[in-house]
Every structure is written in structure tokens, then in C-alpha cells.
Symmetry: C2
Subunit: 157 residues, 2 copies
DNA sequence: TCCAAAATGTGTATAATTACAACAGTTGTA
DNA sequence: TACAACTGTTGTAATTATACACATTTTGGA
């Protein structure tokens, strides 16, 4: 390994270590949601929150499960009041899945708690530091590009 | 909303975006591991990887399950060859849990893939930007304090 | 020494997640 | 129009995660 790639590797290690605090905020934001829905269930809520009403089969594919599994999985979420089945305007054989107000609220609360957690940390910094964080992390997010939604789905985020 | 809180909100939004990118890297790094162990099982591997050989009851508490549940949970992980029970040198009633080589390899592979993912993002940035990202995350980590490991465990990381 | 406490494991039970196979409407097209 | 393809749901079944109550072994102190 040459000097440049060694330096790169060190930078990656340091960045990884420093990112733990940020991941901690993310994890905390989900704790209360995971007391009322399971992680796979929360994943469905995230998908629907991002994509809006979506066909059963399409969500099943996103989740990586076969339709029959998904149908009864959704039965439980409907029973819990998190999503509802609606009929598609396109075709009577299609069933659309939609967040209920409770489901939307749950996702929104997680997002809001995450924002608050980040703000709480930022507020302990000077304005100058905040500006630096803003620009640096903006650059990081840009360099990463939008992570494919399917990847985030692995952890249900 | 005043100027200061607007700046706060902008920094928070940028941080949120970065956290999503970071989670994308984390999620991708875990995909292949989650094909051979479940998420709760991977969490145990992470605990043992960080703490070394640990008493059954202590790990159960970290995982937030009662010991009787944990005993059979570990039966499955032993059967899978990911961990092994060893007797404690301190007391014959204590059972220590330890990673097998396979278990350690699984965790190491995830860590390595995560490192590569971060590296891939950083390599799309200038050296100066890379330094800025590192410093920004370091400042964030300092302001946040050490995230309780229990929080990270929520996501299995 | 003897017994309460500690640490773990078993018996029993429930809910969640998952798949495969078969079935029932619905749609579009040959 | 008739039939194949599409979309979703049931029947059946295995595995996993989880808890409560109880049993077993070991330890440490009265």
C-alpha cells in the first residue's frame, strides 16, 4: 500500500469513528417508534412516506419478500392502524397501500426527533463551527449522492 | 424565526442529509451479513466484538431481553457457528460468550465494507474537503459527547 | 454447615416473519 | 369471446424472537 492510500485509509477510519455520534442521534430518534412497531413494519412506513400510495406488490418487492408473505404482514399493520388498503383507480385487481394519519405521524415524529437531536448538538457549537459543519457535511452528502432508497431500507430508515 | 435559528436549521438540514448518506453506507455494509444472521444476532456479534468474552446475563441485559429468552437465542447462534459458550475462570455458574472465528470474520467484513464505503465517498472529494469533513464530524462528536453504545445497538452498529 | 441469592437453563406459550402451493378475481389480447 | 397473464389472498408450515414461571447448579455469607 502506498503513502497516499495509507493516508486515505486513515482518513476513512477517522471519519468512521467521528460519525458514531451522528449515528447515535439517528438511533435514538427511532427508539420510541420501535416500541410500537417492529423494524420491518417501520420500514414499510418509511417506504410509503417517501413514495406515497403504492401497490402491494411493488412494496413487497422493495421489501424483498414474496407477495403472500407481505399480504399477511400488512394485515397486522392494518390491524395496528398504521396503514390502510385502498382500491386503485387504475385497476380493480390492484390494492394500494397508504399511511394512516397515525402512520404518517410516527414517521414524522422520528424525523422531527432526529432533527431536534442534531440541533441540540449543533447548539453547543460556536456559529463558526456550525458553519463549518454545515459546509463540510453538505459536501459529504453531495459526494455520496442520494443513497439508493433500497440501501436505507436495509435498516428501515 | 430569527437569523440565528435559521442558520441552525440550515446546518441541521445539512447534517440530516449527511446522516442519511452515512446510513446508506452503514446499511450497504450490512446487507451480506444479514443474509446469514438475523439483525438481533448481528447485534450480539457487535457486542462481543467490542467487549470480548462476556457473561450471558450481561449480554442479555445489553440486548434488553430476559435471560431465559437469551439462552435459547444463543443456542441458535452456537448452532450457526457464530459464537461459543465457554466456562468462566471466575465462577463455574457463569457462562462466557465468545465469538468464533466465523463470528469475528463476519463483523470484520462488515467493518471493512463500511470503511471502503466511506473511502469511496471521500475519494470523490478534494483533500481539503476531506479534512473539513473529518473536522466537522469530530466537532460534532465532541459536542455530542460519547453516544451510549446502547443507542448504536438499536441499529445493530 | 446450611441456606439465600445469583446465573443459567427448561417447560410452555404467543406473535412475527418468512416461504411454497393453490386459489380467486380482473385484465388485456389473440 | 375465451383464455393466458397479472394481482392479491388463503392454506399450510417452518424458524425466530420473545416472555413468564419454574428448575438446577453454584456461590458466598450467616
Amino acid at each position: 500500500m502506498d503513502a497516499a492510500s495509507t493516508a486515505d485509509a486513515r482518513a476513512a477510519d477517522a471519519t468512521l469513528a467521528a460519525s458514531r455520534a451522528l449515528l447515535g442521534v439517528v438511533a435514538r430518534s427511532m427508539v420510541s417508534a420501535l416500541e410500537v412497531v417492529t423494524l420491518p413494519q417501520f420500514r414499510v412506513l418509511v417506504v410509503l412516506s417517501a413514495a406515497g400510495p403504492t401497490r402491494m406488490g411493488a412494496v413487497a418487492e422493495r421489501m424483498g419478500v414474496i407477495p403472500s408473505t407481505f399480504s399477511r404482514f400488512i394485515d397486522r399493520m392494518v390491524a395496528g392502524g398504521w396503514v390502510e388498503r385502498t382500491s386503485s383507480p387504475d385497476s380493480r385487481r390492484e390494492v394500494l397501500l397508504e399511511l394512516t394519519p397515525s402512520g404518517r405521524r410516527l414517521v414524522d415524529e422520528v424525523t422531527e426527533r432526529r432533527r431536534e437531536g442534531i440541533l441540540a448538538v449543533l447548539s453547543a457549537m460556536t456559529d463558526k463551527q456550525q458553519g463549518a459543519v454545515h459546509h463540510a457535511l453538505q459536501a459529504f452528502a453531495d459526494a455520496a449522492g442520494e443513497p439508493p432508497a433500497a440501501d436505507l431500507l436495509t435498516l428501515g430508515i
